[in-house]
Symmetry: C2
Subunit: 139 residues, 2 copies
């Protein structure tokens, strides 16, 4: 079925775009990070514990500042789940973060939008530190 | 222009759907909460500090549990911003939460999808407590 195949392709492309975000983060590569995002006023980024940053100016500024910081981060991504709906997609993923000091588990939701005949670009990133043990852990 | 007017209508409908979420939360009304959400396997909910809950079963279960809890919450919503893109929309809003014990400021991103010829339904809710003073506060 054509529809299913197109959806599989989109899922793979969204998965790749999501990985590109974390690759750029690990490599502290602002050019690569700029390629991941839709560079518009409507993008939205909530770093763990932060207030929302809106628009590519403040969002890129935050990555510039984070990339200058002392702690180089490594992300072990687990439990990644991609949902696509037309030209939009959302990904939930657990970021198991290894830093110079301590680690943390961050729960992230990333939203992507496909530009017409173009690539999938991130429009929202929201990460929050997991502090509450899961009540629904069954296995 | 027809496009702009349709977009204005969508923004108003998304804003209303977003308010309905917080109204249902304040009133601890699980029926109303069920009306807000797309009741599907792909919905996603991250309560502050929690791991992601995926699918309407776990998501509705979490609201059932929260509504049984001792603390009745009141939400003062500030800095609400709605973005629409076709049949998807995302809202960022600061939840200033007043509870029986203490208050908190939670930064939330809510994602909605419009069903064909139908209402806007929530597909993602992600809230996280704001702990870091904003560096971009200018006024």
């Amino acid at each position: 079925m054509i529809g299913d195949s197109a959806q599989d392709d989109d899922e793979a492309l969204v998965r790749a775009a999501n990985r590109a975000f974390y690759d750029a983060f690990e490599r502290r590569d602002l050019d690569a990070m700029s390629d991941v995002w839709e560079r518009s006023e409507r993008v939205l980024c909530v770093h763990p514990g932060w207030k929302p940053l809106r628009g590519w100016g403040p969002v890129s500024g935050s990555f510039f500042a984070l990339f200058q910081g002392p702690s180089q981060l490594q992300f072990i991504l687990t439990d990644e789940q991609v949902e696509t709906a037309g030209s939009m997609a959302w990904v939930s993923v657990d970021e198991n973060i290894l830093g110079d000091q301590t680690g943390a588990m961050v729960s992230a939701v990333n939203v992507f939008r496909r530009e017409e005949d173009g690539p999938w670009r991130m429009v929202c990133h929201h990460g929050s530190v997991v502090t509450v043990p899961s009540e629904t852990e069954e296995d």
